[in-house]
């Protein structure tokens, strides 16, 4: 449907009222259809629902809606049925006729399809009953349950553009900045700079060309909050930026989205077009003398682009090289002009603050961290997904109550926050409250909100090697401390995982870390050693066992584990012999298979295929040289 141009605040209000008052089918079936949902079969599920609803002639009483991310990523594909908010997780198309018959025709819950924590246990049929939602405050995420990210009308029905309406009805730019500052909103991208203050600095630059940027180059591996927002509610980000443009006096803004997020790019591009068509972007918005437009930029694949000065270089059409700060972008940014760069989630929070008021916003959170924060809670935890919690909740509450604790039979060892710039916090620190300062004091950072839980089966050396390899690959190479430091540390860590580490390697790692922290040009280099430093302070024992005792307690580092076959348990089926890709298993004189430790690559294929009732393949978390021989000659 082509949107008619909305010319005044009054017209906008009237349109919203009309949309909200319009007759709607009594039932709504919402299918979570962001990237995670689609990867799990949401589109096939939606097609099955559509067909069955049609077949039963329910079109008039049921609306099927494809929404963005419900945040319940582990349970994809899932549906939520309104008005009761019945939640059916991991739904397959085969179950659709049953669901339609019971729930849509007769209004009954299907217990077999509802969520339960383990088979046979109590069911949690309604969204609000779900144990992992109890501690969440989903100011942003809850709208994703019902909003159609492809329709401006849907956003208006949800009260969209009320904040812009309020602003253009007579709030001065300075007052808007006061509101944002009073709310205590801080940058959600990681550094936590007060948003209102940033806007004020840009405002004070006076009558000159200024720009806004939305940083959607969410590069931290393990973090996808921004993708969730971009795919599910692009409109609130746009509205936040229009308000930002009004406040600082900018006429043009850029939304930069990494190219690895094709659906986010598509949805934002459609949303921008619709908002522009409606006249909410462009010249003389709602009849005021304020003009503002937004351009969408597709990234080209470089982690360093997320650094703000590198991001600017990338938008200018150059390689994403960071530069020295100060001057900060708010003084000298895009094409040398004052530029306000905020993260996706920061922009998405703005309309809410204007609409509900700063004190409403600031009542949630801690003294210095206000509002809610979305985290991507992933890794070795029972319930993974996007979670939104108030600042100040403890790590334990998030990991154990929202995340449901460890996977069956495992123990949680630590949580990694802040991506490659963050660190690993051990389980003993899980009573720390989640806010910018507490995590930083503990040697990690909150970062943009990645929270990767690891358990006893994850090796700390392997994990920091992972991050250092990442940093080495993504280092732009301009400055020596980062370029050489990351490469040097990777070599040392690789040596340790091969079982060739020495005690002095740990000192060398520490020294290199401090050099990088002090001397690197940009934030990426200065923080690249954080994973190492936090491991040295919290997991020194595990590191030492690698270099002193030749052990990998988690049994991950290939140079420090070995496999042997216990012939007293072996049934002689020789499945292991067939499975071994290195041909390291041969049949010994006694007729039992034997692993040649020199040829063995420690891939574990033999362990995987060995029948569980025999368990004759034994994994040792120590170097293999003598171990294999010993058990054979017993």
């Amino acid at each position: 449907m082509n949107q008619k141009r909305i010319r005044t605040v009054g017209e906008l209000r009237a349109l919203r009222t009309r949309l909200q008052a319009a007759q709607k089918p009594p039932r709504l079936v919402s299918v979570s259809a962001a990237s995670c949902g689609r990867a799990s079969g949401a589109m096939a599920l939606a097609a099955a629902l559509d067909e069955e609803i049609g077949r039963r002639g329910l079109e008039g009483s049921v609306e099927l809606r494809l929404t963005g991310c419900h945040g319940l990523c582990q349970f994809e594909p899932n549906v939520v049925i309104f008005p009761e908010k019945i939640f059916y997780p991991n739904l397959v198309p085969e179950k659709v006729p049953w669901l339609v018959e019971e729930t849509l025709v007769h209004g009954r819950i299907v217990p077999e399809l509802a969520f339960r924590e383990s088979s046979g246990s109590q069911i949690f049929p309604r969204l609000e009953d779900l144990p992992f939602l109890k501690k969440q405050v989903r100011w942003l995420l809850d709208r994703h349950l019902t909003l159609d990210p492809g329709r401006l009308e849907s956003y208006l029905e949800h009260g969209g553009f009320m904040a812009l309406e309020k602003v253009l009805s007579g709030i001065s730019p300075e007052e808007v900045i006061n509101l944002v500052q009073a709310s205590g909103l801080r940058g959600r991208g990681g550094a936590g700079f007060p948003t209102g203050l940033k806007w004020r600095l840009a405002r004070q630059a006076g009558q000159t060309e200024k720009y806004l940027i939305c940083n959607g180059d969410e590069g931290d591996p393990g973090a996808y909050m921004d993708r969730g927002l971009l795919e599910s509610n692009p409109f609130s980000i746009i509205e936040g930026m229009i308000i930002g443009g009004y406040a600082v006096g900018a006429a043009l803004g850029f939304i930069y989205i990494r190219q690895e997020y094709p659906l986010a790019i598509e949805r934002m591009s459609v949303a921008l077009e619709k908002v522009r068509e409606a006249g909410l972007l462009g010249k003389n918005i709602l009849g005021s003398d304020f003009s503002f437009d937004l351009e969408l930029i597709r990234g080209a694949g470089a982690f360093v682009s997320g650094e703000e000065t590198a991001l600017i270089a990338s938008i200018e059409g150059r390689r994403a090289f960071p530069r020295q700060r100060p001057p900060f972008p708010v003084v000298r940014g895009l094409w040398g002009q004052p530029t306000v760069i905020n993260n996706v989630e920061t922009w998405a929070n703005v309309p809410m603050i204007i609409e509900q008021g700063p004190s409403w916003f600031a009542r949630m959170g801690t003294a210095h961290s206000k509002g809610t924060k979305i985290f991507s809670l992933v890794g070795k935890v029972r319930y993974t997904g996007l979670v939104e919690v108030p600042f100040g909740l403890t790590l334990r509450e998030v990991i154990e109550e929202v995340g449901g604790g460890p996977e069956p039979g495992q123990r949680i060892k630590a949580v990694q926050t802040g991506g490659p710039s963050g660190g690993c916090l051990p389980a003993s620190l899980f009573d720390l409250p989640l806010d910018y300062e507490s995590l930083q004091k503990a040697g990690s950072i909150m970062g943009s909100g990645g929270m990767i839980v690891i358990d006893e089966a994850t090796c700390i050396v392997d994990l920091i090697l992972y991050f250092l390899r990442f940093a080495r690959e993504e280092s732009c190479g301009q400055c020596a401390p980062c370029r050489l430091g990351t490469a040097r540390m990777v070599r040392i860590l690789e040596k340790i995982t091969r079982g060739e580490g020495r005690p002095e390697d740990l000192e060398l790692l520490e020294k290199a870390s401090w050099t990088m922290r002090e001397a690197s040009l940009c934030g990426l280099g200065r923080t690249a050693a954080n994973p190492v430093l936090s491991a040295l302070s919290y997991f020194r024992d595990e590191l030492q066992r690698h270099v002193l005792d030749g052990e990998c307690p988690a049994g991950v580092c290939r140079g420090l584990i070995s496999y042997t076959i216990d012939k007293h348990r072996c049934g002689g089926c020789l499945l292991c012999l067939d499975a071994c890709p290195a041909e390291a298993i041969e049949v010994a004189d006694d007729g039992y298979p034997r692993i040649d430790q020199k040829l063995c690559t420690r891939c574990g294929a033999c362990l995987t295929v060995c029948p569980a009732d025999l368990s004759a393949v034994i994994k040792l978390n120590k170097k293999g040289a003598g171990a294999g021989e010993g058990s054979r000659e017993e």
Binding site: C73, G222, Y224, G317, V378, I454
Partner: protein
């Protein structure tokens, strides 16, 4: 090809900031960036060819050679990593006979790894010919490979 390049160029203002967009559009159209496209960009945007080449090799989205009929991407994000993405990539590499970042022309398959696709709750994630697959176990790899190399 020249004609296609000219059409794309004509749709963009001759300002440096459209250079990356131009490269995206050409690759979308031609599947890769031939030398001709880089030279045309250098001319049109008044940038030394070396700088255009610099851009193309800096950003991982661009490639200077055509891709393959089939492409397998194994995500190496942190969540995928702690759930065994390394083993997964190694298994694909072994069965496809190609190292990550390379291609096997005989089988018509390219294998690459990527830092994070942002589907972390479904870790480990593999993308096979554009289709995302979550929670892929090493034991499933032979089946995926068979399906892929079986179809033409």
């Amino acid at each position: 090809m020249t004609e296609k390049l000219e059409t794309i160029l004509a749709s963009l203002p001759a300002e440096r900031r459209y250079l990356i967009l131009f490269l995206h559009l050409v690759q979308q159209e031609l599947d890769y960036l031939p030398e001709e496209a880089l030279r045309a960009a250098a001319d049109y945007f008044a940038v030394p060819p070396a700088e255009v080449y610099g851009l193309v090799t800096f950003y991982s989205a661009f490639r200077l050679k055509p891709g393959c009929r089939h492409e397998v991407t194994v995500c190496q994000g942190t969540a995928c990593h702690v759930r065994g993405a390394g083993e997964l990539a190694a298994e694909f590499s072994r069965l496809l006979g190609v190292r990550p970042g390379d291609k096997n022309p005989e089988k018509g398959v390219a294998l690459r790894t990527v830092n994070c696709l942002g589907c972390c709750a479904l870790a480990p994630v593999v993308v096979v010919d554009g289709e995302y697959q979550g929670r892929v176990q090493v034991s499933k790899v032979p089946e995926i490979v068979k399906k892929l190399t079986g179809k033409k």
